[in-house]
């Protein structure tokens, strides 16, 4: 074997070249120079809605030279919740995860603060409501960026014809498409009278009292309308108050006008109730209407989504926001933040809202009057008032303002719907209150 001799000049030249490559390498932008980023998005139920998110992410990744991996995780069977629990335990997983309502707080120790990006986003898109702050902020730190994808208001979706015929209420006149609501008379008393009239006519309101989200959200908004809190913001028990007694009396009257099986309803029951043409009103985002448009067009043509009735303490509507959060164990936080800024641009938000057919709701003040809500139909303007464009409702979540970790227990144990059902089924009011107080006392454990 021949050995080539390296002279001094060659050695110096080779060393210089190698050093130059090593020094400049980090500054050369290869295909994935900015590293990897993995995202766990909520799997949208609207066909094609995921595509808009994918496109936006890919567009950003190509520009920023990031190797992107997106998983769409369904909330069917709570698969997303199980994944969150597993990633939190393992302290490993996606960089960004789309957290439902309570999950920023329940994983607050593992959430990367995003104040630095939230401030400019709010400046550009407008302020967020108090429920978003309540669910996404802890001690002045933002634990996630409000995601429009999946965020929803669960207001009333009424049948125009049945409400007019049996309850004498013209919901289109009350909530005109393209104009501000004229809903001064749309109160809990009017609601109760309408429920009674529709019940007598054989088309009762479809409001569930089971233990799933739709049922709990409706009860929560009515509790709010009466000023009823089970645990206050300081964490004190406030079950045995007049406001709670009043809302239970209201619900007892209402339950008498609902279908007899509402205690067993889940989140699909109210949708089926509306689509099957059995009832005059349900409390739901426009998903039921969207399915009716496909499966029962004659029902969809008569649907109108509008605001909640006002109670003695105001007009409250259930709002369930999602958050895009960055795990503290993420290995590429700067890239994650950059992507979230991109997804929060008004043009990106509009693209995602359009892809969902108007189902997704931005949490920002300036983005409640997008074209999609004006144009959707039939009937045209059916979801114009879905995003509460005139901010006439207080967007709230059931069990608030209790400290979020306590409220989450009240919410998932469905304490409010159980109270209503117990009392309506004949239990004494005081016994129901004592039971609820015992439950809430248990939820206060730390």
């Amino acid at each position: 074997m021949s050995r080539r001799k390296l002279d001094r000049r060659q050695f110096v030249a080779a060393t210089a070249a190698a050093s130059a490559v090593m020094i400049t390498a980090p500054y050369v932008r290869g295909a994935y120079a900015a590293g990897k980023l993995s995202i766990g998005f909520w799997d949208h139920w609207v066909p094609g809605a995921n595509d808009a998110s994918t496109e936006l992410c890919k567009e950003w990744a190509a520009k920023e030279k990031v190797d992107l991996e997106i998983d769409y995780i369904t909330s069917q069977g709570n698969k997303n919740l199980v994944t969150i629990a597993a990633e939190a335990q393992a302290k490993s997983g996606h960089d960004i995860f789309q957290m439902p309502t309570w999950w920023c707080h329940s994983n607050s120790d593992l959430m990367e603060p995003v104040n630095d990006i939230m401030e400019p986003i709010i400046q550009e898109n407008g302020a967020v409501n108090d429920t978003v702050k309540y669910l996404g902020m802890l001690d002045g730190k933002w634990m996630g960026v409000p995601a429009c994808v999946g965020s929803q208001i669960k207001g009333p979706c009424s049948r125009i014809d049945l409400m007019k015929k049996h309850a004498g209420i013209d919901v289109q006149e009350m909530y005109p498409a393209g104009g501000p609501p004229k809903a001064e008379n749309w109160t809990t008393d009017t609601f109760l009278k309408a429920a009674e009239a529709c019940h007598k006519a054989g088309v009762p309101f479809g409001i569930g009292l089971g233990e799933t989200s739709d049922n709990v959200d409706t009860a929560g908004a009515f509790f709010k309308a009466f000023g009823a809190e089970l645990v206050n913001a300081k964490g004190d028990l406030t079950v045995k108050t007049d406001a709670v007694r009043q809302v239970l009396e209201f619900y007892k009257k209402l339950i008498a006008f609902l279908p007899p099986d509402v205690g067993a309803w889940d989140d699909a029951s109210n949708n089926k109730w509306l689509i099957a043409g059995k009832g005059a009103l349900i409390m739901n985002p426009p998903s039921a209407w969207a399915v009716a448009k496909r499966d029962a067009p004659q029902v969809a043509e008569q649907c109108w989504t509008h605001g909640f009735p006002a109670g003695p303490k105001g007009r409250f509507a259930p709002f369930l926001p999602y958050f895009w959060s960055i795990w503290s164990f993420s290995k590429n936080k700067p890239a994650a933040k950059s992507l979230l800024v991109h997804l929060s641009k008004p043009s990106s938000i509009e693209k995602m809202v359009d892809a969902s057919g108007g189902y997704d709701l931005p949490a920002f003040e300036k983005l409640t009057k997008l074209k999609i809500w004006v144009e959707q139909g039939p009937p045209k303007g059916t979801i114009f008032h879905y995003p509460d464009p005139y901010q006439q409702q207080v967007l709230s979540i059931a069990a608030s303002p209790a400290p979020p970790k306590v409220a989450q227990q009240i919410y998932f144990q469905a304490t409010q719907t159980k109270m209503c059902l117990r009392y309506a089924q004949g239990e004494s009011l005081e016994k129901t209150l004592t039971w609820a107080e015992g439950e809430c006392e248990g939820f206060l454990r730390s």
């Binding site: 099986d261 067993a264 227990q409 159980k418």
Partner: protein, 312 residues
């Protein structure tokens, strides 16, 4: 099985260093070979069963935020909660009722199948096993539609006879009945197939002897069949009791624990508290509550089975 070395005998081998020789001997034993062959499975079980089990014990000893060791604090907390005792009561009702009916139906159907001529028996066995081989999450969905609060197919049919509508999942008593019914439907074929195997192993001579002694059908069952099937009944019951106590899918899909928590069992309530309520330590404590009780039951039943095995 005789546990001997494979191949050449120890006496024929030249003497080597004591350590190497004993290692070689050990490696040549059938039991060592068997152990090495099952080692991947043992490791898999250790990874997927033993580790999570110990991890859940660890979780059950932490406080809600999982930052502090609280020992039995979570159990002390649970013992003071009315809902927990409701869940304990319901789990016992659910598991015991379901296992009794599964065993009873399995026993009766096994006898029917046993008496079918051998030619057509395989067909019946296959058909009767169908509920057990369908993943319960899927079959329970079908049951959910049958029991649907507003559109129940059962109620629709009963309506033709002027009966109902029955609140299958809306009333506490009916909801309990519904979840137990589905569990029995799903689990009875397992008992049937186990009992059928046991029936086939009972020597025919015993029945002939009983017939000569003038035993009627009941006496044949009581004095011949049941004693011969005792071990299989005990083991099947124990196994089913454990699985039924740990059931999740049927209740979760049919009622999710409602109405008013009246169908919650340990697993569904643990999920509600631990995953949905983000109190993982408390959820782990709920799911571990039955472990010592079932472990004691298992020890007694298996000891009894072992004793009878030695006697025979």
């Amino acid at each position: 099985m005789v546990d001997t070395a494979i191949g050449e005998t120890a006496a024929a081998r030249p003497r080597k260093a004591a350590g190497r020789s004993s290692l070689r001997k050990a490696l040549k034993r059938k039991s060592t070979t068997a152990f090495l062959m099952t080692l991947p499975l043992i490791l898999l079980i250790a990874l997927l069963v033993v580790y999570p089990a110990f991890y859940s014990v660890h979780l059950a000893t932490l406080n809600k935020s999982m930052q502090r060791f609280v020992g039995f604090g979570n159990f002390e907390f649970l013992f003071k909660r009315d809902t927990f005792w409701l869940v304990v009561k319901q789990s016992c009702i659910f598991a015991i009722t379901a296992v009794v009916f599964k065993a009873l139906i399995g026993f009766i159907v096994a006898h029917f199948v046993h008496n079918i001529p051998a030619k057509g028996q395989r067909k019946w066995r296959g058909m009767l096993l169908v509920p057990w081989v369908i993943p319960p999450a899927m079959s329970t969905l079908a049951w959910l539609w049958l029991f649907d609060p507003s559109y129940s197919a059962f109620n629709y049919t009963l309506g033709f006879f002027g009966i109902g509508p029955i609140p299958w999942t809306g009333d506490a008593a009916w909801a309990r009945f519904s979840v137990i019914l589905v569990n029995v439907w799903y689990g009875a074929p397992f008992f049937m197939i186990m009992y059928l195997a046991a029936l086939k192993s009972v020597p025919e001579q015993l029945y002939e002897a009983a017939a000569i002694d003038g035993a009627n059908w009941w006496q044949r069952i009581w004095y011949v069949t049941l004693p011969m099937m005792r071990n299989i009944i005990a083991i099947t019951t124990l196994f089913s009791l454990i699985v039924t106590f740990a059931n999740f899918d049927i209740v979760r899909i049919l009622t999710a624990g409602g109405p008013l928590d009246k169908t919650h069992i340990f697993a569904t309530w643990a999920f509600r508290v631990g995953i949905e309520g983000s109190d993982i330590p408390l959820g782990a404590s709920v799911s571990l509550f039955m472990v010592p009780i079932l472990a004691v039951a298992a020890i007694f039943i298996l000891r009894d089975v072992n004793k009878r095995g030695n006697e025979s």
